[in-house]
Amino acid sequence: DTMKLSEGAIEVRLFPDCVFSQNIRKMDGTSGPPRFRIMMNDGRHTMSYFMLSTQLNSLAEQNLLEPNCVCMLKKSVTNVLKDGRRVIIILEIEVITPAKDVPGKLGEPTPFVEGDAFQVHALTSCLRQSANKGPSREFGKKTPSALPSTPGGSSKVVPIASLNPYQSKWTIRARVTNRSNIRTWSNSRGEGKLFSMEIVDESGEIRITGFNQEVDKFYNLIEVGKVYYMSKGTLKIANKQYSSTKNDYEMTLNGESSIIPCDDASDLPVALCSFVAISDLASHEKDAVLDVIGVCKSVDELTRLTTKASREVSKRTFNLMDQSGCTVSVTLWGEEAENFDGSAQPIVAIKGAKLSDFGGRSLSASFSSTVMINPDLPEAFKLRGWYDKEGHAVEGQSLTEARGSGGGTTNWKTLSDVKTEHLGHGDKADYFNSIATIVYLRKENCLYQACPSPDCNKKVVDQQNGMYRCEKCDKEFPNFKYRLILSANIADYGDNQWVTCFQESAEAILGQNAAYLGQLKDSNEAAFEEIFQQANFHTFVFRSRVKLETYNDESRIKATVMDVKPVDHKEYSKRLIMNIRKMAV
């Protein structure tokens, strides 16, 4: 019965999802965009302090919202005027029955006067679900009737999309898609702990955070993938800086919050994802957060690396391919990386993956991403079917330039391009590949004495007493290890460039390791020089990083060689032929 108005809604001031009929009037005299004032009738009362927010003006101007239509007020904000009167600004409204289908005035409303006894009704009367089923109200109760903490009974489940800060009595039933670790903090104002999670139902998703006592109460109860009834959380405007969950609001658990497992959950979605085809990744900006799904075509070994904060973290990359025929490299971290088993070429879906322009385009799973292996999603089944039938034979065009291959989407430039295209002038450094010949190698100061600790490369201070001190490790050592910083000039047909090569690249160019070179420099000057002579005039594929740096008002491009590889002539030829043909058109 779409004409059943939410009687009593005006009085209770609990608006979202309430049904009204109304009379709409354009206000005169205001400068700026026109404002439309609306008198709402909820079947029992009328009230004229409703205003359409300007972004919805077109609804009135195009007569989509007309006098006497029945509409559902979905989102609103209440402003209090200086004289205490309340004005409700309509943010979202939906017409349920157009005016022409409404037979005259509905109900026998009387004008609502502020200050009438405010009676608290059970929330359920204003919820969309009950608007369809018929209102169930409890009159005369002064205290809010608490929803029972056990599921079922007279508590009605509402959709996540209807949650808002203006209603506090609701129960939702949702699946947990993501749960963070417990994070602690300690600052001048005190200390505490928190955890956050994301939940989803058919209507949408929302992010929930629990602090201190709520962490103790609920953290261990929550399992990703399971469904729970939840009620009594505090809703507020979402801080989009910290989450990309699609909801204008987010929730905080409080002392009255309840979370109860629900067994019958098969009808709830596993996750709400809007998957982007891998072939479309190039058209998204880097740092974008998006959802992807594909087959894990191949997976690399687990590696460990040390972060700048000297923490060890596990990392694993794998290649994801979808029906677009494109593949992309995906990086997993920590436990997720350790536990990942890509051997059976599983379907992998990632919600909230982070897009990077590393290697062209690549993805990584951050702590707020959800990685699902062989998820129960229709897209997953389609992918499995496609892959088993034909996908497994597809070579796949990779969006991520792999180390060791220079083809496909690699950024090839000539040395003169660096100047003409102003590479390195932007906020971030630019990376490119080029084929160039070494024309000069500086042998002076190419070696330095570094800390002998395995993961430390800091230059040590010679204490002049046979000991060498590393400031970073805060230790003294009786020895050091030689490391290379090689300054070189490379050239191609159009231009030349000064570059700095570190250890691995320098060793590749000189054809000797740093330790041997250091030893030679100290013992056999002539042999040491000979190495540099021999290394000159060799041609390589250089992968370089350029960035504009400013010292004392002077700006110069600084180029660093990240990697040096022998020229793959076949690939080079193919590329040249392709470029020539392209230019000829």
């Binding site: 002539h569 076949k570 030829s573 193919k574 032929i577 020539i580 043909r581 000829a584």
Partner: protein, 122 residues
């Protein structure tokens, strides 16, 4: 024989033979069949088209794989071979004849950028 190395020799494939009759050329192809006498053999170019090569002296070694022949084009569309070089397969990367053919086409399509001239050295 050394005379052939004194003149510029265009690199060609089978399709271009007719344009270079009585002119010195350089032909790279894959050996197909060697005549039992050793005085001639056939080879195919990067497009799979066959050319016949005749020699003044019979071959004194096994000929197989990719070979570069320098010689004159006869009016019958065969090659009068003056010298040849075998591109050893075992050494490094195998020669990509199809890619060579693509490069060849570029040289001929844009001949203004790939001039064949005799440079007189001073």
């Amino acid at each position: 024989m050394s005379a052939i190395y004194e003149a510029p020799r265009a690199r060609i494939n089978t399709s271009m033979l007719s344009q270079y009759v009585s002119r010195p050329v350089c032909f790279v192809g894959r050996v197909e069949k060697v005549h039992p006498s050793g005085k001639s053999f056939t080879m195919c170019d990067g497009e799979g088209k066959v050319v016949s090569v005749e020699l003044n002296e019979p071959l004194d070694e096994e000929l197989s794989g990719v070979v570069e022949v320098v010689g004159m084009v006869t009016n019958k569309g065969a090659l009068m071979g003056s010298a040849y070089t075998i591109f050893q397969e075992e050494k490094g990367v195998a020669f990509d004849l199809e890619l060579y053919n693509e490069a060849l086409k570029v040289i001929h399509d844009f001949s203004q950028y790939y001039p064949f001239k005799v440079e007189t050295s001073g």
